[in-house]
Assembly symmetry: C2
Amino acid sequence: MKISFIGAGRVANHLAKVLSEHHQIVQIFSRNLEKAQWLANQVQAEAIADFKSIHANIDLMIIAVSDQSIADVIGQISPYLKDVCIVHTSGSTHLNILGEKHEKSGVFYPLQTFSLEREIDWKNTPLFVEAMNEQDLACLLDLANSLSNRVYSYSSEQRLSLHLAAVFACNFSNYCCDMAKQIVDDKHVDFSLLYPLIEETAHKALVNDPKDMQTGPAMRGDENIIHMHTNMLKQDQREDLKAVYQLLSQQILQRHQ
Amino acid sequence: MKISFIGAGRVANHLAKVLSEHHQIVQIFSRNLEKAQWLANQVQAEAIADFKSIHANIDLMIIAVSDQSIADVIGQISPYLKDVCIVHTSGSTHLNILGEKHEKSGVFYPLQTFSLEREIDWKNTPLFVEAMNEQDLACLLDLANSLSNRVYSYSSEQRLSLHLAAVFACNFSNYCCDMAKQIVDDKHVDFSLLYPLIEETAHKALVNDPKDMQTGPAMRGDENIIHMHTNMLKQDQREDLKAVYQLLSQQILQRHQ
């Protein structure tokens, strides 16, 4: 397949490199021509910084830009690529954002944390594929299956729910650790003392239903301890942490009563 | 040392067994005599179910009962054990709870999740020791050092802050995974797709300051995505999850602005 990219950031870098092994990368677009050139050199492609220079003679255009730029980009490039399938690589953008402006559009979303230094294990990376029409879907599924053993044809609604769930399971869990560290730092207690408990907690939530793995004062309905903890946070003037403690404890209590 | 136990639950079981290797376990008390007998048999001790049968000729009494029973137990056994050091094993009970009722009292708290099936790696289990007087503290430190390489002499305030931090880092993180699973279950999406991200998140929070590892829409200040997520939860009538999403996002935004 002949494939071009809009964007030369982390996702474009990883995706262009692995796709260049079996496909021809035609152009890399970035507003920053130097950035486009850097990636283009590695995948034997042409670097461009102007939408007018886009070649229409390709099979697939991959938009790998920030979520908020996707709608703008598709509006600008669609006129040059009437018969070309255009996909975005975002977990949190509905297919309709492309579909409204371009008939042959789709999604090609790898569920991974990308950093420039680290190699991606593509075979085990879940890939989510979606398209406005069946022909494009078949083509994207072929491409996805050549990369990964874990290809899913989920709807936008399903993909978006996965992304929302990741906010809870990853971003919010991390913030829970951040709050924990603030509590012990304040009393000059070593945060690393909690490492074994944190590891065990994550491990247990992965091999069982996390609902069944719930422990702690709220789960036990231990009002004395909840009252004591709330007072401790109040005395330390941590109204922010107290609000979180109360809301989550109340919900855990209700879920397990 | 001659040591007796009040309680025959998980903590008493693990602690009595490992201490019996180098010390004499004299009595095991439980209101359930059968339970006391089961443990007593394994550590060559006498099982009792009546406080009046307590032998005073011991060096240490370890109270390993539920948090809310500690104050009651110390009141009942103190008259029989005037010259004996009495400790509790709780992470969330202040030393003063014992100190008010018994002069020679202390804390011997192992930071571990105890289950009856699993062996404890005592050498690497953090032990927290505290006492009302210096002589008892020295004695408890000796005992602790014979068990573990990680012995800490923290104040009650410090120990309680560690326990509160564990509620955030363990109980609340687990609830975040529970909420995530509810979100994907509702859309028939496989929760195990999130496993690699959850593992990576826990791993990163242990090798860096979790504040620096924060990611996600709130951290980036991405109001569009936050708005979309809030709407998704509202449409699915998940007011509980929406309340958590809004509170935590708002706090993460403030912390990283």
